[in-house]
Every structure is written in structure tokens, then in C-alpha cells.
Amino acid sequence: MLPVLEHDISVIKNTMTDIRRNCNGVIVQNYYNNCDDSNEIYVMYGENAIAFWCDDNGVIRGYYYASDIDELKELLKYLPKGTVIDVITRGDLNTSAFLGLSGFCFLHELQRFSSVGLSSEESKYISERIKFMADMYKVENVCVATENDVDVLNDKLYEIFDKRESHLPTRDELVEYIQRRWVCLYYENKELKGFYIFKVMSNGQFYGYEIWNGTGPDGYFSMVMKANELHAEYCNSNKIPLDKIPPSYCWVNVKNKKAMRPIKFWGMKFDGLRDFVYEKQ
């Protein structure tokens, strides 16, 4: 059985619709309008299942849509070694247990944290904590990244983070974030000790994208403060009213205790959404 090369996602979407029309039970899927811009998508077609994959910045990412799980299990066996599958769910690991039977190995669990539903008391408590910690903000050590930092940052990103787990930016995207002033750096004795990359959605929503802190709490706190300033600056210059910005969010690997602690410190809460990451062996 050989994959079919498709150049347009709409062909695949039409197959999804057909599967849905013929389905009397439950659909299993991990497709959320991904790879819509890709013009090289490899597809394994079944009668009531479809599995496909495309390149995402050097990572092969796999997707599926099926009403027949047995057929899906067979199709998934044809996905190339190293294909990464993300299963985003409000359920538990069992919801994707069938992947293990198709040669996939569980890699990571990420959870989404959000500042949704922060009570006024919690907000007040956090503001007081920030005031108490003001001395930790080492203004002189933190700066906004420039295009001269691109190569160093790009190397660090791919050295520190697992590109299968994190959807890392391409070099061009990194340049764009720097130009938008969405990246700040932390130095100690002229040595890069941390970076904070965030994204701002069109509605002003803050997304904590990739944060690396290779030093103590001062470094982390300083970068957070700087990122908050840059976020406000970006919203002001784009005329986004600060009081209308939706709550911020981020994804964290549940085993990354160093990341988990500060996120909880800022009052962010697990919103129920999990991402189970698998890799084809």
C-alpha cells in the first residue's frame, strides 16, 4: 500500500466529510485545520479512515480522521518512522491508546494553562507579590532582541527544546517575532542566560511561546516583567484596548517542574486541555 501525494488539503477535507456522512458511531481525529498551507501532503486512504502527514519545519506531523478504528490502526502503520502525532483532548491517555498498537510510542504530555477565571482576590494577591518582588527585576540585564541575535537564538532554541514536542518557529518566523518586539533576552556578565518569546494574537491575547531560563529566579522574573511591558507596548501601538484582551495561555510539559512552578505562581490554571505527543518507531 502506497501513500497518495495530495497538493491541496480540500481533497482530504472532502474525504473527511464523506467519512462523517457514512458514520453511525464516533469519529476519532486529531485534525484541527493543520497543514492547510502545505502543498505536499501524503495520504493513506481507507474506506472509513484516513491518515496523512506533512512536513512542519523539519518534523513530520501526522493526522487522522476515522470512524473505523481498526482500519485506522492499519493505516497508521504506514506512516513514516519519526512521524509525530499530537492528540489534543479533554480526555486521558486512554483516548489515544490505539496509537500504541500502530507502532507509536508515547513521548510527552503537555497541559494548557490559562489565566481564565482569576478572581479579583487572586489578581490582587498576585499584584502584591509582584510589588514585593520588584527588586528582582534586573532592568539592566534584560533587553529586547534584535536581528543580530537571530542566529544565536535559533541555535539555542533547537538545542534546548525538543522540536517534536514544541512547535518551534522557523528562522523567518523568529525574525518576524523579533521585528515585532516579541522576544526579550536576559544576560549575566555578557553571557546569554535566558530568552522569552511570546506571541500576541490579533485580539491582543498573550501566548507564552518559548521561555528558557538558564539562571535563577531573578532572570525569570526580569524576563516576565519585560515581556509584560512589551506586550502592553504592542497593544497600545496597535490600538488594542488593554481591558478587552482575553486571558493569556501557554502549554507546559507536565514533567517540567521548573516551568510548572512559576506558571502556578502567576495564578494560571490547567484548563482541562491536554496534548499527548506520540512518535512513530
Partner: protein, 76 residues
């Protein structure tokens, strides 16, 4: 319209959809929620929403959601 608000509220109870002008742009719904919403709408209005119609533009407001349900044969 009320039914749709109820469905939306069940999906993301923490948000007030009635005061929003665009659920997607304002971050009330993301792509994962959109897929959950489609399943709920299909069950409620007895239709199958074409996968090509599952795009942010069609889920920004209650009115646009009603249109996409109708377009796909929903009994709305």
C-alpha cells in the same frame, strides 16, 4: 439562537458569548473548540457540516454559525 448560546456556554463556560463581537478573534473559541462545537451542532440540528466549512470565518458569531448550519441542511 438561544440553543446555540447554550451549546457555546457548555463548551467554554468561563466566557460570556453574548457580549462578544467575534468568538474567534476575541479568543473565546479555538480550533479545538470549533471541532467540539461542530459535533454538538450536528447532533442538535441533525446535519453533517462539510469539513471545508469548518473554518474560523464561519464560527465567529451566532449568526454565522446559524448560516453554516443552514447551508449544511441543519434543521434550524
Amino acid at each position: 439562537m438561544e440553543k446555540i448560546y447554550k451549546i457555546l456556554q457548555n463548551i467554554r463556560p468561563e466566557f460570556d458569548f453574548r457580549t462578544s463581537t467575534n468568538f474567534i478573534e476575541e479568543g473565546l473559541l479555538d480550533s479545538f473548540d470549533m471541532v467540539s462545537l461542530v459535533s454538538e451542532l450536528e447532533a442538535e440540528y441533525d446535519c453533517i457540516i462539510d469539513a471545508l466549512d469548518i473554518m474560523p470565518e464561519n464560527f465567529g458569531t451566532v449568526e454565522s454559525i446559524m448560516l453554516v448550519v443552514k447551508k449544511n441542511g441543519g434543521n434550524i
